[in-house]
Each structure stands twice: as structure tokens, then as C-alpha cells.
Amino acid sequence: MALEEIVEHCQNLYDDLDFSSVIRWKNAASGRKVIGHMPVYVPRELIHAAGMLPVGILGGGDQLDVIHGDAYYQSYICRIPRSTIELAVTGRLDVLDGMLFPSTCDVIRNLSGMWQLKFQDKFVRYVDVPQDFDLDVGGAFYTRELQQLRDDLAELSGNEITDEALNASISLYNENRQAISELYAYRSAQPWQAPTPEVYLLMRAGMLLPVDEHTSLIHDYIAAAKAIKRPVRDNCRVVVNGLFCEQPPLGLLKSIEMAGCYIVDDDFMLVARWLLKDVPTNGDPLRNLSHAFINYSVETSCKYVPTREAKGKFLIDSVRNSHAEGVIFSSPSFCDPALLDRPMLQKALTAQGISYTAFKFAENSGQMQPIREQAGTFADSIKLWSAA
């Protein structure tokens, strides 16, 4: 597939607020079921192993007219739950047989209860993950939680989730994470060849497509990108942070890059990059998933950082590893995790002499000029400092 075709395919998936591709997947064989999940992390391997399709529900973006959703939320609550409710009450999520709500924040947590109240015929589970990172304590708790989820998903799907099936699913998700790592490494090395708006669309496609299809699409994209030569701009290299739950409008990412910044690392769709190494595909799969969560998962604002010294280290490593020159904190308005974390992360960056700038957005932000100006000024200042 040519690059344009791949990007167009991803753009069409992104634009489709009716989840047509998911409906097509579901209707392609009898008895198929679909499970939605909110950001930031759920173990999608379990859904896959039950023969069901995991679908990331990331709000309604800037194209959805939220009419009903605002009646469910006060003005001081972020945008993603209201557009998600809008998607549901307008029937767009009817294709889902269930929803998983991870322990991202109080708003997503309470949304699980709203779903229980509003959609009583649907399967709803809150996915608690440990904030205690001792294998024998938090790890043991999480393994038992995974077992409960495994039992529930098996019952819903009507398919037993055997260890073999689960290990096979883990293997497919390992391949997907490897492909994404390759994509991110490629972008980091040559960001002009893989512009972030395209990488973002590719990652969003992974929220809708079957995992193996998505893995192939990433490989195709990398091959297609390598086959062409794109102009190199004199941009600075930045990491963007804060986009792990409510999604930025695509225009925001374009604006950052147009303003003179190459995004070389980010925290989009962390569900697909949560585990930093391959999960073993033999032995007890639940224990392996649990150990992976405890021992090698990303640091994000939704997680507790056990020591003061470790706070911000993950972001600093991201800056160093991607050879970034600064960080753009782009946080959704009223996002408790991102906004409470930001001062601590900024302090950690300052201690390392890493520049940053910060602004807020909502998924339906329309006015990009201020963001472009701020990102542009940030890029200029980095260039000036670099010259000095």
C-alpha cells in the first residue's frame, strides 16, 4: 500500500464516529463480540483471547456535536466523559457488548458507575490496577483481578480463555508493541519522514483494528515511508506530554509541527505501549502480565511514583533517549492527573536543564493560533539557546 493510501485509511477510521469498521468486523461472523475500553490501560490480551475485539473509546474529538453529554457533567469536568456519553446515548456505541473503565482518574472511575446506571444491559467492569509495586503484594492482587476479569470475559464471550489462547494473544500483542517501537524509533531518528499527525492516526487505527491487522499496517507504513524522501526542516525536537487520556484535536498536533517542532516522543494511546518489554509467552500468562505491569510498564500521571527521586525520571529518559531538546506539556483542561503532575515534572526537567512550555486544550479546541504561537516561540527559544 502506498503511504497516501495508508494515511487515508487511518484518517477515514479516525473520522468515522459511527465505528463502521467495528460493525463490519462484528457482522463478518456470527457470535462475535466487541469490548470497548477507555484510556489509559487495560490488558487487551484477555479480550482478544476470548475471541472478542478490543476497541479503544477515546471520546468524540472535535467533530462530534455534544448535545446530550453536557447535561451529564458540570462545566468544570473535562471533555472526554461528556463526548463519550454522547457517543453512547446517540447509539454509536451500540456495537459494544461491554465496556472496561480503567483506574485512570476519578472521572473515568465514576463513569463506570454511570454506565452501570444508564446501560444496565451491558457488561461493565472497572479495571483496578495496583499502585503498590511489590510483586508479592500489588502483583498478587493484580493477578487475582486479572483472573476475575478472565472469568467474566469468558462468560460473556462464551469462550473459555485457555492458557494457550492467552499466550497466543500475548504473542500477537508483543509483535504489535515491537512494531510500534520500530515506528517510534523511526520517527525519532527521522521525524520528517514520519510526521506525528500520521503516526498519531496510525496509533488511533490500532484502537479499532484487530491487532494483527494493525501490526501489518505499521510495517506497511514504515516501508512506505522509507520509500520516499521528504524535506527536512530546521525544526527543534520535542516530547509532548499529557495526552494520555483526552485526545488532542489532530489540528493541535499539526500546529505544533507547523510551528517548528518535531514531536519525537509522546504519550498517546499508552495502552499500546504500556508494557516496555515482551511478555513471556510460556508459563502462567496472568502472572506474566501482572509481572510485566509491575516490573516494566510506563510511568504516567495515573500511576503512583514510590520515591521522590524517581519522579520525572521516565520523562527525562524519554527526552534523552529521543534526543529531544524540550518538552511541551499539553494537558486537557480539568485533567487532574496531568495537571497535578505537571509542576513536579517541570521541576524535574528544570533540574536537568531541559526546557519546557505548557498549555491546555480540550478535545474540541478549535482555535489553534495561540498554540501555534506558543509552540513557535518555544521552538525559536530552543534554537536561540542552542546557538548560544
Binding site: 476519578d106 472511575r109 465514576n110 483496578d128 503498590d132 503484594v137 492482587f141 503512583y304 487532574d336
Partner: protein, 435 residues
Amino acid sequence: MNTAATDTADVQKEESMILQKAMISANYDALSTAHEEGKKISSTFVPGNLNELLMCFDFVRNLPEINALQAGMRKKSGGYIMEAERSGHSEDVCTYVKTDLGMMSKGQVGPNGKPLPTPDLLLLSYTGCFTFMKWFELVRDQYDCETAMLHVPYQADGKITENMRHFVVTQLKEHVIPTLERVSGVKFDIDRLREYLRESAKAEDDLVWVLQSAKNRPSPIDAYFGGVYYCGPIFTAFRGTRETTDYYRSLRVEVEDRLAKGLGPVTPEGTLEEERIRLVVEGPPNWTHFRDFWKMFYDEGVVVVASSYTKVGGVYDFGFRHDPDNPLETLADYCLGCYTNHSLPSRVDMLCNYMDEYQADGFLVNSIKSCNSFSAGQLLMLREIEERTGKPAGFIETDLVDPRYFSSANVKNRLESYFQMIEQKKARGQDRTAA
């Protein structure tokens, strides 16, 4: 005016309020001098607070939420919040956090006018509120002291599972207690814990009796504005002490006396003479204008007969009591059972139960800008409760301690309209009954 006040210049207080004030003052004094006296200080949160456990290690207990609400009541929180915002904290986040951080940067002066020393330990009971986790990361960043984390799983399906309980107990055994021992230098004595828990259970019995006295007509208490005073000792640094048992015993005697005399609640302007409307209220109160806010209710003869906020530091009125025979398991169940750790359907069920049991005329939500744990989903809760009970529901918005978010005229207008609607609905009901 529905109160029997003799002199509005003198604020009327129940004996128990005076006693409680003395307890709180003594605790602030104990905090101020703790290090001089060789004692260690632990900071911890109200929901899921492990007061009995901390006492086993002789920690003096500091509660940043209480410091923040005290700052709100003393009209100092606005300045603290702006100080925190000036240093980079977002205007969007919890104002308790910003009050705490702002207070810290202004010298951490307690309500007794003396500086509060740096805590030796932050006991993070991550119960029912995501912000707690980040709050203590922020505080740890400032103080650079030890933090003990207790992750309390969320009761998403309305029940405590064995895995949840086991997880909390294991964290207590493996991490929390060893950290408390190390920081305090005191060896854990489970029998000492049992003694404290025994005292807790006695106080809890009396607290529940007091809260449930509001089922009477007229209610001898206000279970929201008065209720926050009643819950003060048991929610904070005092649960498990003999002093607290005595406090709740005397409070009960006081309320029994009011009940026997057929008296309404004590308000700052005297006893409420006529109970016109009975409400159930969801959400925390506003602290910066607490007295003005309360006046909007008692001036109209409105009594709050049950509230969710008085369950935020422990839900006792559905049977839970601290159990000295199962000390760690009971601490786990207590933490798991705090109000905001309940799912929305459970919260709706609880509030509907209150509407019914306490014969309420209406349901009011005071939605707090700062507190997503409470606030996210309240509009749906309101509709559900209105639908299930057939009683009118009202909705107002304020904040905990940010005076910029208390619009007195707006709140008063809304409340007056809401109270009129309730009265009209009651009158129509009476007309139909008479016909």
C-alpha cells in the same frame, strides 16, 4: 427567621461543639510542640485514615484536609490558593491541595498561630480519591520525608471482595506497619490496636445514634452543617481515644435531651423553631462561607436530615463497626467502605435509602468544583434519585475552600427557588390528601 435567638451577636453553640473545639486546639498544640517533645508526626487523609494504627506508634496526627478547611473557615485559603497558582499549580485542580501547598510556602502556620512542623511520615491512604495520590507526591516533593502508601481498591461492583480485603491487609502487614515501626522506633503491639478499635466501636455506636436521631420530627440535629461538627473527632485525629468515646457519649446525651424536649437543631442563631423542609444533601459543604451558607437554610426553616459528606470518613450507619477481634481486616473494611470509595449505583441506593428513612422532602446536590471524586456523575445521580423517590431535586455549585467559587447571591437565589418548589409540591400533596 425561624430561630429562637436572644442575641445574634453571640453565636450559639452546643456543648459538644465547644468540647470538640478544645480537642482540635489541643491537637494543633501537640503538633506544634511534637518535635520538641521527641514525638513523631504523621500526615494522613480523612477518608481511610488509620488513626488507631498511627496511635499504636505514638504518632501525633496531622490532617492536611482539616488544615485546608480550617484555613477556609478562617478566610485564609484564598490567599494560599493564589500563592500555589502563582508557583505553577493549575487553576483547574483541587483547592484543598493548593491551600495546603500555599500554606506551606507561607510558613505552614496552623490555626493556633504556631508553625506546624514538617511531618516525619506521610501515610497515604489512597481511598476514594485519585487526587490524594498526587497530593502526597506533591507534599513529599516539598518535605522530602518518608511516604507509606496504602492502595485501597475501589468498590466498583458495590461489594468488598476477598481479594480487595486481602490486598489491603497484606499492604498493612508488609509495608505500612514496618514503615511505621521504622519511622517511629516503636514496635507494633496488636493488643494496643485492639484496645483503640474497641473504643472506636463505642464512639461509632453513639455517632450513629446521633445521626439517626434526624429520623424524628422535628429533627433534633442538622445532619450536614451540624453533622460536620459531629463527625469531626471520629473522622480525624481522635478516633479510638477515650476522649472521643466520652465526646460522643456527651453528644448523645445532649441530643437525647433535645429530642425529649421536642427541640430542633441548634444553629449559630439559636434553636430552629419551625422545621419546614427536610432535605438530604449530597457533597461536601463550602467552608469559606460556611456560616452564610448554613443561614440560607435555617432562615427558611430547612433542616438537613441526612448527608453523604458525614460518611466520607467512614460509613457506619449500615452496620459497620471497627472490630477488635479482626484488627487488620477491620481496618481494611473501614477503608474500603468510605463513601467516595463506593460506586455510583451504591451511592444512589444509599441516598434513596436516606430519602425514605429520614422522610425527606427533597434532595440537594452541592457540587464542588474541586472534587471530581464526589462531583463526576452527580447530575445523573440527581436524576436517578428524583425518578426513584418522586421528590424534587436541586443542584448548586460551590467549592471547598476557594472563595472565588462561592457566589452568594447565585446560591441563595437557587436555594430560595428550590425551597419554594418543595413547599409548593408539599402543599399540592397536602391538598390532594385533604381532598
